[in-house]
C-alpha cells in the first residue's frame, strides 16, 4: 500500500484515484475535527468536502513536510472551518430550531438517535473549549481531535512548536478541570 507521500505526489501530478485513496484514509479524521469545531453534522460534512476540494485545487503548490498528509489536511480544515463559521452561523441556528421539533424514536431510528446524542455531547462537552480565544482553541482542537503530535500541529498551523506548547499550556490553565482527556494521545510528542 502506498504511503501518504507517494499518494500525494501522484495526486499532485493529476492522479485522482490516488487522491481518492488519501480521502478514504483521512476523511473520517478530518470530519471528526470539523465536527468538533462546529458541532454540526451538515456543516462538518460540507467542510470536509471543501477541505479535499481545496487540497486538490492547491495541490501543485503544496508539498508534504510530514510522512502523513493529516497535518496538511487539518491545516486546510482549520482555515475552512474558520471561514465557514461566520457564514454558516445563521443557517446553523435555523437548522437547530428545525431539528429539535417533534421527533420520536421508532425501531428504525436507533441510528438517528445515536447521531443526535453525539451532537448533543459535542455541543455540551465542547462549550468551554469553544469559548477559548481562537488561537488556543485551534491548537487544542487539533490536539483533542486528531492524532497529530505537537510537531505536526505546528506544521498544520504554520507555527513554531514552542508556540504550540505555550498555547496548550495557556488553554490548560484556563480550562482546569474542563480540559479534555488527552491521555491516550501524543505518542510521537517527544520525537520532535
Amino acid at each position: 500500500m502506498a504511503d501518504d507521500l507517494q499518494l500525494w505526489e501522484r495526486a499532485r501530478s493529476g492522479d485522482a484515484e490516488a487522491f481518492g485513496d488519501l480521502y478514504e484514509r483521512h476523511a473520517r479524521s478530518i470530519q471528526s475535527y470539523c465536527l468538533w469545531r462546529t458541532a454540526d453534522l451538515q456543516v462538518a460534512e460540507d467542510a470536509t468536502a471543501t477541505v479535499f476540494l481545496e487540497a486538490w485545487r492547491k495541490r501543485r503548490r503544496l508539498t508534504l513536510s510530514t510522512e502523513s498528509a493529516a497535518p496538511l489536511l487539518l491545516g486546510i480544515a482549520n482555515n475552512v472551518v474558520r471561514r465557514q463559521w461566520r457564514s454558516q452561523r445563521r443557517h446553523r441556528d435555523a437548522l437547530e430550531r428545525v431539528r429539535n421539533v417533534g421527533q420520536i424514536p421508532s425501531d428504525l431510528e436507533a441510528e438517528a438517535i445515536a447521531r443526535i446524542d453525539a451532537i448533543r455531547q459535542l455541543r455540551d462537552g465542547g462549550e468551554a473549549i469553544r469559548q477559548l480565544p481562537r488561537r488556543e482553541r485551534e491548537v487544542l482542537a487539533l490536539l483533542a481531535w486528531s492524532d497529530l503530535s505537537y510537531g505536526e500541529i505546528a506544521k498544520a498551523l504554520g507555527l513554531p512548536i514552542g508556540t504550540v506548547r505555550s498555547r496548550i499550556a495557556r488553554a490548560r490553565a484556563r480550562l482546569g478541570d474542563a480540559f479534555p482527556d488527552l491521555t491516550e494521545t501524543r505518542p510521537a510528542e517527544e520525537v520532535l
Binding site: A16, E17, F19, G20, Y23, E24, A27, R28, Q31, S32, L35, W36, L41, Q42, A44, E45, D46, A49, T50, F52, L53, W56, R90, H91, D93, A94, L95, R97, V98, R99, V101, G102, Q103, I104, P105, S106, D107, L108, E109, E111, A112, A114, R115, I116, D117, A118, I119, Q121, L122, D124, G125, E127, A128, A144, W145, D177, A178, F179, P180, D181
Partner: protein, 528 residues
C-alpha cells in the same frame, strides 16, 4: 461539562458511504478531463433499474429525515444578498418562522411570521391593516402568494426591485413608517397530488401592535389535506375507510408516485460544494439538455388522529423515455436520483435491495389531518348544490351557471372539487357529486377507457390548462374512488419541454390502498 471525548462514530460516514463519497470526489476532481471514466464500483453493485426517484414528496421526506437524523438536507430558508444592496429571502418550506422573522428584521422590516399546519389560518382580527407608501410612488398593502416551489421575498429599494422583479413580493424598508410592520402567515397546500406540494401565504402591512396568531380552521372549501389511496390494488382489497381512525389506530395508505426527471450524463455542479448532482427535476425545461426519465417510488403512510405519522418510501424504477437514454444511464452505472443518493441522504435498502427511506414524526402534520372529515360530511351531495356551497353562493343566487375553468372563479371551483376527490375519507355520494360537478364546468373534459400507471381502467376528468400543462384525475366510475391523480404535459411544445412527447406524465400519484390498522407497522395485507 464533560472532560472526555464524545463518541463521534455515529456522525462519521460508514465504509459504504465513505467509498461512495470517495467516488463522487474522484468524479468531481477528474471531471475537468475526459469524463469518460468507467463508473465507480460502488455504483455497479446497484441492481439495474433498482434506483431512482426524487419527487416533491421525497423532498419533504428528506427534510424530515434530516430532523430525525441530522443528515444534510436543505434548510427551510436562505438569505442571499442582492447586487447593489438589499437581500432576497427564499423560503423553501414553511418552517422556521422565527428565522424568517429575524431575516426580515435584519433587512430592516419588522415582521411577524407564522407558519401553520395544513388547513389552518390565523384569526384576522389580531392587527390593524395598513398601507405603506412607496418612495417612488405607489403603495403596498396586502397580497396572497401561492404556488408550488419557493416563496421569494425581496427586501430592496423599490425602484431597483421593479427592474429586476424575480421575487413574489418586494418590501422597501423606506416605505414603512415607524409604527408599521409586516404580518406574514401561511400554510402548505396540496399541489399536483402532493398534499403539501404547494403553499399559500398571506402578506399584509399592519400598523400599531400585532397580536400573536390565533390558529383557526381555514374557511370551508379551503381544505388542506393529503391525498390518500382508495380503491383496490389490482383486485379485491380492503374497502376504503369511511370513518377516521379511532385514537390509537392509524390510517394506512399506499401510493405510487411517478415523476418526470432529467439526468445529465456529464453531470454538473450544483449547490455550495459543487458536488455533481446528476439527476433532478431541475434539469428539465427549455434550456436544459437532460435526458428525461420517469422515476417511480412507492410510498406508505401511517397516520394517527393525534398526528403521529410514519412514512416509508421505496425507490422502484427509473424508466427513460428513450431506450438509447436508458442504456446510456445503465452504462454509467445507474447513478441514483439525488433524493436517493446515499452520499446526500439517509438511504437504506430493503430486503430486496431497493433503496428505502423512512421517518416517523409525533406531530409534524399536526393533529388536523382528519378535521376535514366533519367539514366534508356537511357538504351537499347533489352536484349543483355542492358547487354552489363550494363557491360560497347561496342556492337562491341569480347566476348559478358554472364559470368556465379558464376563469379565475371557475378554476378555483374546479381545484376545490378536485381536492374533495383527493381527500382520504369521503362518502361515495360526495365523490360522485364532485365528479358530476366537475364534468359540468366548461373547459373540463371527461374521458372514458383511461388506464392509470398501475394498469387499472377507469374514467378521467381532464383539465388542460395553459402552456401545455394540465391535470387528469382517473377514477373508478362505479364508486367514484380516485385511482390516480396525474399532472400531465399535454403539449410538450407549448410547455417548452423539448425531448418529451405530448401526453407525458409530469407527476402522477397512484392510489393503491387505504385502510385502518392498529399499529404504525401493520399493513392491511395478510402477512405483515
Amino acid at each position: 461539562m464533560s472532560n472526555s471525548k464524545p463518541d463521534l462514530s455515529p456522525l462519521l460516514p460508514d465504509d459504504a458511504t465513505l467509498k461512495a463519497r470517495r467516488a463522487e470526489l474522484v468524479d468531481a476532481v477528474s471531471s475537468g478531463g475526459s469524463g469518460k471514466r468507467p463508473a465507480p464500483g460502488w455504483r455497479r453493485r446497484a441492481p439495474r433499474l433498482a434506483l431512482g426517484a426524487a419527487t416533491a414528496v421525497a423532498v419533504i421526506a428528506a427534510v424530515l429525515i434530516f430532523r430525525a437524523g441530522g443528515d444534510p438536507t436543505p434548510v427551510a430558508f436562505a438569505v442571499e444578498p442582492q447586487e447593489g444592496g438589499g437581500v432576497t429571502i427564499k423560503v423553501y418550506s414553511l418552517e422556521d418562522a422565527p428565522g424568517v422573522e429575524d431575516a426580515l428584521e435584519d433587512a430592516g422590516i419588522p415582521a411577524q411570521v407564522t407558519w401553520l399546519p395544513p388547513g389552518m389560518t390565523c384569526d384576522e382580527t389580531r392587527f390593524t391593516p395598513s398601507i405603506a407608501k412607496l418612495p417612488g410612488g405607489g403603495s403596498l398593502g396586502g397580497a396572497v402568494m401561492a404556488g408550488p416551489g419557493t416563496l421569494t421575498i425581496s427586501v430592496a429599494q423599490s425602484q431597483r426591485a421593479r427592474r429586476e422583479s424575480v421575487a413574489n413580493i418586494n418590501l422597501d424598508p423606506a416605505a414603512f413608517r415607524a409604527d408599521q410592520s409586516v404580518v406574514l402567515f401561511g400554510s402548505p397546500k396540496p399541489f399536483g397530488g402532493d398534499p403539501e406540494g404547494g403553499y399559500e401565504a398571506h402578506f399584509q402591512v399592519a400598523e400599531g401592535p400585532v397580536e400573536p396568531c390565533r390558529p383557526v380552521s381555514a374557511p370551508a372549501g379551503s381544505i388542506g389535506s393529503i391525498p390518500v389511496p382508495k380503491g383496490a390494488a389490482g383486485g379485491p382489497s380492503t374497502p376504503a375507510p369511511v370513518q377516521p381512525p379511532d385514537p390509537g389506530q392509524f390510517l394506512y395508505t399506499k401510493t405510487k408516485v411517478v415523476q418526470l426527471q432529467g439526468w445529465e450524463p456529464e453531470g454538473r455542479g450544483a449547490g455550495p460544494m459543487d458536488k455533481p448532482r446528476h439527476f433532478t427535476t431541475n434539469l428539465l425545461g427549455p434550456e436544459a439538455d437532460a435526458l428525461p426519465a420517469l422515476v417511480s417510488t412507492a410510498k406508505e403512510v401511517w397516520m394517527a388522529p393525534d398526528g403521529k405519522t410514519r412514512e416509508r418510501e421505496t425507490l422502484e424504477q427509473v424508466e427513460f423515455l428513450s431506450t438509447g437514454d436508458q442504456e446510456r444511464w445503465e452504462d454509467a452505472g445507474s447513478p441514483p436520483p439525488f433524493a436517493y443518493d446515499p452520499t446526500e441522504h439517509a438511504v437504506k435498502r430493503d430486503r430486496s435491495g431497493q433503496p428505502v427511506k423512512q421517518y416517523a414524526s409525533r406531530s409534524w402534520r399536526g393533529s388536523h389531518e382528519f378535521d376535514s372529515v366533519i367539514k366534508l360530511s356537511r357538504l351537499p351531495t347533489e352536484p349543483e348544490a355542492l358547487r354552489l356551497a363550494i363557491e360560497n353562493r347561496g342556492s337562491g343566487s341569480s347566476s348559478s351557471d358554472p364559470a368556465p375553468a379558464g376563469t379565475e372563479r371557475g378554476a378555483t371551483t374546479a381545484e376545490r372539487l378536485m381536492e374533495i376527490l383527493t381527500e382520504p375519507i369521503t362518502s361515495p355520494a360526495l365523490r360522485a357529486a364532485a365528479v358530476a360537478a366537475l364534468a359540468e364546468i366548461p373547459g373540463i373534459g371527461v374521458e372514458q377507457g383511461v388506464t392509470d400507471a398501475a394498469g387499472r381502467h377507469g374514467e378521467a376528468i381532464t383539465w388542460v390548462r395553459d402552456r401545455g400543462f394540465g391535470r387528469r384525475l382517473i377514477f373508478d366510475p362505479r364508486t367514484s374512488d380516485l385511482l390516480a391523480d396525474a399532472e400531465m404535459i399535454f403539449d410538450a411544445g407549448a410547455a417548452e419541454y423539448p425531448g418529451v412527447p405530448d401526453d407525458t406524465v409530469f407527476r402522477e400519484t397512484i392510489y393503491l390502498q387505504s385502510a385502518i390498522v392498529d399499529s404504525d407497522h401493520e399493513r392491511p395485507d395478510a402477512g405483515n
